[in-house]
Symmetry: C2
């Protein structure tokens, strides 16, 4: 299938992490994974998939599903059409967590959930708790709005992960039967429906299914869904008319919302619902790699450029608007009202990692790192128990983590991403290993049938010093690709103490070392990691006259608890030197950034609202903490973009 | 009734205006007044009040009445419960306009409207097109939500104005009968209902009715409505239960929305719907003056302080939030999303002018002027034909004037205010005349039974030089009060060429000249009017690091058409000198403000979204125009608060 030059992520089993990501994975494995299952049960999601009990809950209309920030209280039970997907991601999170920590009780519970899906599945392979239990008789009548194939996709991903982690085939077999049924219903062949899902996801899931089963038909079905999207006559128009509805009577007005406004190869702007867009592009990237499809690749590069040059928050968040949970117009990046859904940043990580499938390239890995360390893991509290749906870059103190959500897509999404972090750190090619991300970890892989263990030791992201060693029973020749991050002003590399000129061997932002490696070799990479100021393109109205702080991959914010409030009074003059300070007891151990700032003084302003004299300035200190760690102490104001002055 | 020290506005008939206000009044008298009638007809509002034809339209529920910014197209006809009020204000605007310009056709049309109201009125005096034609049988069942007494109030104001302008009593008699009926239904006396309106207005209207008819009972009814508001047991609770509803099931959650959360004398924060609040306070000020009620006066002063020190836009706009069309929290003054309804600024002018009822005081007149020259008349296009409902202080170019509105309260409100501008310029007391505002105009009044004509000549607000002369047939002693605006750094005064030390005779911001005046006397007042910078209290987060420009009473803004865009790139360094430039051909003749600014350059930024180097600065010129005149040319960006740098 893949050409020799392609790179694939390792499996979760191949990578062990410690240090920064070790702590995050531990939080998921020891708390989040169980919490996801427990919350699903509290929300009465078990009842929806259990065919032996009456259909539960209250059906709520599609358009009232938008998140409200309310915690789940158990008082109001609502039934959601996308709950199967939440089970899928919960299963996937549990599966990855089992590599980290044995959890027999959770495994038993997941087995029981899988049993229910098995009982629920119809003879013909069809499986949807919504259409079997809540809206019987209506299956395949509204692909545009009703997440039917999306749910299938997430259950497939869960099935693949659970099979890999436990060896248990039951859910995998269930989902293969369902995938076969889907393949009978949809496709380019005469007699099949020309549909595809309004919420992309099935595409990338079928690629995973094809890879784990070795069945090319699943890859081909995924390719069909990608190729058919946005073709004329438009399936969603025809489908609407078939159910007696006017296609124009569409809540989101434009098919840009679900990226079916034109065929995917003609798309050049990231539009619509951000998570849908990222899932589509991730699926396209898989298909581009699996089928060596340059036309898809070209489209993806245009879309990548559009996202990263005009529509991405500095945190790696994306999709500024709550109205469409997605994109608005170029350079529109409001801070306080940023939607920047956790799922969208997680999905950007998925897309970026797949763009690395044709080889190491900093263009993608830098953004993957940006989303990983900032706008995605901000969605999970440090202890793994509470969540953000939206990830604004500014808050007056009332945006706080919640226990659960009416639309609980984000918790299991961040859970599965963190628990499988090893698959993003490394990439494996033919006689090649790429180190995309740094930090305490090791990976096992084979070269010429012999096992190699590559071990990184590093305090990254708090320190840029990395050492790499190998463990193998005889010398082996392979390529080692080491990323030199775009944020790094100076990188020094030695092999067994001998310096290597990084610039000499740099291509696409990676150092490539092609030699015969021995078990005694020691590579040292020192990435300079000064605190730095970040300015936004002047076209971004919301960041005009503002500056953000970062160090290495970490974007910082100021929180009320550490600073004089109100935070809008703080100004960071350009002459201020920013100092990195180790804070081992703060927020699980972080590096903070501190500097001298000035603040507009309101205490002596008096009782007037306006005056002709500028506010008096007073000296103060500013202390910034990593953005991902905000709102883990008492609630308060937060902002990423501080006022700047030359 | 009033004590000797009270001041009352002159009637519209007593004042003639030219210059700045003359042009505005001409626009209303020659265009707006007719347009108001025509749009009401287009919206099928005649059909609602005509008892001889079937009840028209589609009833739309209360909560879908919030303005959407859509123009009235005639395609969708919706019937509004507050249309009687729009007729009332349309009649009032027409009435005042008749002083300026004879308009027999409009007068004939208004007479016909009045005839319909006459036919509609019930035997017992009751009059409401909504409750008689759309929801029969439900009168007086929902004072909280349904604008029943509010509509009566506006029709009373229209009746008083039309009687004064034309001498025609018909509508006045109709409304006296209705007011009598209201007085039978509501009051403190046993057997009467203890109600009052959810939307204040009847209070100030009854004061006008009392004054024009000389009937004290209307003043007393007004006082009852003021006194009863917010008393326990709460009328809106009892009324809700009486119609079988749960009082807690209230869309706006809190009675702060309609200022009935506590008795008015206990109120100390401006809260809820801004127009309702201003109308209430205006009515309270009337009652305080008519009944010499110091407890009301004390409450009003607290409320005034709360509004002007924490909750007023620099434009004299108020009520930042669309959700409640009103106030949020102290110092919350968002610029782009400012609701700042035209009606609210108009109503602030009403309140402020009534606060001058106990004597000239700059504390009130300065704010009246601020609202008059900025946030109120911004609601009317220069030609008098198009309107703003919201008056934001920043726009990306998509906030544009509309032809009509589903909730058409603002057009006739700004129309009646402008057409009666003379009543705000002057105040008349016993042997006293106060000049609250400057500008080409004259007022006729009597002293000792002799007519005095005071004539101002001034290019105000574009120039601070004012000359005042008298025309009278013999010398007369009276006090002349001249306001020295708070924004004025230096005022020079001469009488017949002899200097008067302003500071010596200044009290409450007014110079008081008490002498025997002769027809040959010439007063010259020179108010220095430098361009000035305005800074907001540092507690206002949205204006942090921003500066506004003003000159005299005029607040300025920058528009895209005059400046390099995007406007968020512009920075006004403190060293910049701001120059006032006469622009006789621009926007009907204005003074612009110009200065050197710098702008963040985006042209050479390239294709990246973020970088470590601050944007390059380039020199540019900034040209500001009066805020009230914005969006009278091509659509584009606008902002009042510019980026500031020390």
């Amino acid at each position: 299938m893949p050409a020799n030059t392609t790179f694939r992520p390792p499996s979760v089993a191949q990578v062990e992490v410690a240090g920064f990501w070790g702590a995050r994975v531990d939080a998921v494995a020891s708390r989040t994974a169980d919490i996801l299952y427990d919350r699903c049960v509290e929300a009465r999601m078990l009842e929806q998939i259990d065919p032996d009990i009456p259909s539960p809950g209250v059906v709520i209309p599609f358009h009232s599903m938008s998140p409200t920030g309310n915690e789940f209280t158990g008082a109001t039970v609502t039934t959601q059409m996308f709950w199967d997907s939440d089970w899928g991601k919960t299963i996937e999170t549990a599966a990855y967590s089992l590599y980290r920590r044995r959890n027999d009780e959770l495994e038993r519970k997941i087995d029981a959930v899988i049993d229910l899906f098995g009982k629920l599945q119809q003879e013909d392979g069809y499986l949807s708790s919504w259409y079997q239990r809540i809206q019987p008789g209506l299956r395949w009548t509204n692909l545009r709005d009703c997440h039917e194939l999306y749910c299938a996709g997430h259950l497939i991903e869960g099935a693949v992960a659970y099979f890999q982690a436990t060896g248990k085939r039951k859910l995998l077999d269930i989902m293969c039967r369902f995938a076969d049924h889907i393949g009978e219903m949809f496709g380019a062949e005469p007699g099949k429906r020309k549909g595809y899902c309004g919420h992309e996801e099935i595409e990338l899931a079928l690629v995973k299914l094809g890879r784990v089963t070795g069945q090319r038909k699943y890859l081909e079905l995924a390719r069909y869904f990608v190729d058919q999207r946005g073709q004329q006559p438009h399936y969603f128009d025809e489908e609407a008319r078939a159910r007696g509805a006017d296609p124009k009577d569409y809540h989101f007005k434009t098919y840009e919302y679900n990226q079916s406004h034109k065929p995917v190869r003609e798309q050049n702007k990231v539009v619509g619902h951000a998570v849908r867009a990222m899932y589509l592009y991730a699926g396209m990237a898989d298909i581009a790699a699996e089928f060596a499809d340059d036309s898809l690749r070209t489209a993806l590069e245009r879309l990548w450029n559009d996202l990263t040059s005009k529509n991405l928050y500095v945190t790696g968040g994306l999709g500024p608007s709550a109205a469409n949970e997605g994109f608005t117009s170029d350079y529109d990046l409001p801070n306080e009202t940023a939607y920047a859904e956790t799922c969208a940043s997680v999905a950007l990580v998925f897309w970026a990692s797949r763009m690395l499938g044709v080889g190491p390239n900093r263009r993608y890995a830098d953004v993957m790192e940006q989303a990983l360390y900032n706008g995605s893991i901000s969605g999970l509290s440090l202890d793994g128990s509470r969540f953000f749906y939206e990830n604004p870059l500014e808050s007056r103190g009332r945006h706080n983590r919640w226990k659960w959500h009416r639309c609980p897509c984000c918790p299991p999404n961040i859970g599965r991403m963190v628990a499988s972090i090893g698959t993003y750190i490394y990439g494996l090619g033919e006689r090649a290993v790429a180190v995309h991300l740094y930090g305490d970890s090791s990976i096992r892989f084979e070269v010429e049938g012999r096992e190699v263990v590559l071990t990184q030791a590093s305090r990254y992201p708090w320190d840029g010093a990395v050492s790499i060693k190998f463990d193998m029973d005889r010398p082996l020749r392979f390529k080692l690709h080491l990323r030199i991050p775009g944020w790094c002003p100076r990188a020094q590399l030695t092999i067994n103490g001998e310096g290597v000129d990084v610039e000499d061997v740099l291509a696409d932002g990676y150092v490539t070392l092609d030699r015969e490696w021995e078990g005694t070799d020691v590579i040292r990479l020192d990435l300079d990691m000064p605190a730095r100021r970040i300015y936004a393109n002047p076209r971004v109205r919301q960041d005009a006259g503002r500056v953000a702080l970062a160090r290495g991959p970490i974007v910082y914010c100021v929180e009320e608890v550490d600073n004089p409030e109100p935070l809008h009074s703080l100004v960071l003059p350009s002459a201020t030197s920013i100092e990195a300070v180790e804070a081992p007891d703060l927020l699980g151990g972080v590096v903070t950034l501190s500097g001298q700032a000035v603040a507009d003084r309101s205490s002596d302003w008096g009782d007037t609202l306006y005056r002709s004299a500028r506010p008096v300035r007073e000296q103060t200190m500013v202390r910034a903490v990593p953005y991902f760690a905000w709102d883990n102490r008492q609630p308060g104001e937060m902002r990423v973009w501080l006022r700047d002055e030359p």
